[in-house]
Amino acid sequence: MTVFIIRRLMQSVLVVFVMSFLVFGGVNLVGDPVEMMVSDEADQEERERVIRSMGLDKPWYVQYGLFVANAAQGDLGKSFVYGEQALGIIVQRMPATFELALAALLMAIVIGIPLGVYSGLNSESRFSKVIMAGSILGFSLPTFWVGLMFIMVFAVMLGWLPSTGRGETVELLGINVSFLTTNGLSHLILPAVNLALFKISLVIRLARAGTREIVHMDFIKFARAKGLSTQRVIMVHLMKNIMIPVVTVLGLEFGGLIAFSVVTETVFAWPGMGKLIIDSIQGLDRPVIVAYLMIIVLVFVVINLVVDVLYSILDPRVRIQDVKG
């Protein structure tokens, strides 16, 4: 296992390096931040002073070299807009996004798996058909529209839940979180459900497909022939098998939740990274964009590693291959 993790870490460094090049190059191809920074009345001298101050007068490879050298020391550049460390701005916003993403992930697991397994076991029942129809809606309705509908129904018409912001936060291990206060929790519900809807549908489908496949396996019948209770057959023999694909997909989707919570955060004015990146793209704030993308790359790399480790815990057959390799 240790060898496996070390090997994976080395691969990860390479991935991060390649991504840094792509991200840096890509961002430099779009738009000219100078246009956004200087006022229309500025003269040529003024413009060149700004260009120099941002280091944009140097050739691209020198810029990239400087970026990598600084990044190695944890410095991803200063925001053009805020004048602060880009990394600092993002890290400040990170807990909000993580909280939202984790809440959505939790819902996907807690709601998606039982519904999926139920529907897989009773595929002919009426309730199962309702679940499947619901999951099609969850897949196909656009997130922003569902978000707006949530706000209209639950915030405007019924007035049950607030529609913007994080609400009250308390500090937990040095991080601000919403879910520990009632007010914060009420703020979390709508955006989290909105973000989770697609993932719930996905988990339902995965769990259902897995259940339908596994339930006809001989080992399930054998487990029943051993006289185990239905509960144990489903909770242990079936679940452990269907969790393998669910964990794989959810791991990757969690990265997606963090990276692409943009829409939900925008609709619900949730002060997370997604909202920040949209603002930064509009303001062509290159250091923030680059820093954000680099963090997302890191998040994906870490999640992939965690998924691989989890996978080998769930599936003993993978563990053995690792020992041999």
Binding site: M217, A223, A225, K226, G227, L228, S229, R232, N241, P316
Partner: protein, 329 residues
Amino acid sequence: MNDSQPTLSVQNLETHFFTKEGVAKAVNGVSFDIAKGEIMGLVGESGSGKSVTGFSIIGLVDPPGEVVGGKVLFNGEDLVQAGEERMRQLRGNRVAMIFQDPMMTLNPVLRVDTQMIETVLAHDKSVSKDEARQRSRDALGQVGIPSPDERLKAYPHQFSGGMRQRVAIAIALLNKPDVIIADEPTTALDVTIQGQILYEAQKLCRETGTALIWITHDLAVVAGLADRISVMYAGRVVEQGKLDDVLDHPVHPYTVGLLGSVPGHNTRGQRLFQIPGMTPSLLKLPPGCAFQERCPRVDGACEADPGITHPVDGRNVRCFHPHLEEAAQ
């Protein structure tokens, strides 16, 4: 057979599959008795209903299949009428089953000890985990698995096919059942391993007094193992009797054909006998005898249902025209 009550008595068992194309009578009035420590071979070709008979006994017929008639008397208790919880208590405890494909019967993601210990604990909550582990260890030793302590901690994929089948047999033995239903357990194994497993199975039954139903399509397997034999054809037992009697002097035309098609010493160089035609579809069985379309002895009488007759002592046969000439010799 002795006068004491049989351990398991299957009477007129009927299991039908309600498919879109119609009702398939997979088991159509099967009857047999098994005494303590007795081994019965249930023989038939694919689709003759022998596996479904096995699953019907322990109540594990999956929809659209359903046991629609008959009795399964286990020590006098009718299992067809028993509730789900009562069946759960009996399964793996008093009536155990071994499946055909050892590569598929063990859960790939659970350790062998987990799968064994849970079988003990499912039936006796008072047993401690250590005791259950001890019993699992002993059962593995009993079926000839070397260093059972280490093997308990292994996962199924770390075992070969033969070893996995031994583990499955060990699981079936864990609670010292009264009846074991073995559904072609050696079909997927090579001949050497098959021989070993047959030997172990026979030995265990003799030692523990467990009754064994050995389902197979392989006459050679039954010949070396069973005390009695039931030959199934299209959902019915067409001939039943003592092993040697049936093999030496079959009276049902199907059994005669079946035994005639087995290659033997004096058939070298000759074409093997072949029963003409194919097994009828269970969806549209002809009225009367199901074998009539392939039978050399067929006549008008065969359109009526042949009841069970005893043309020879101790033999149950469903046929109007049994081969009595050979049997009498």
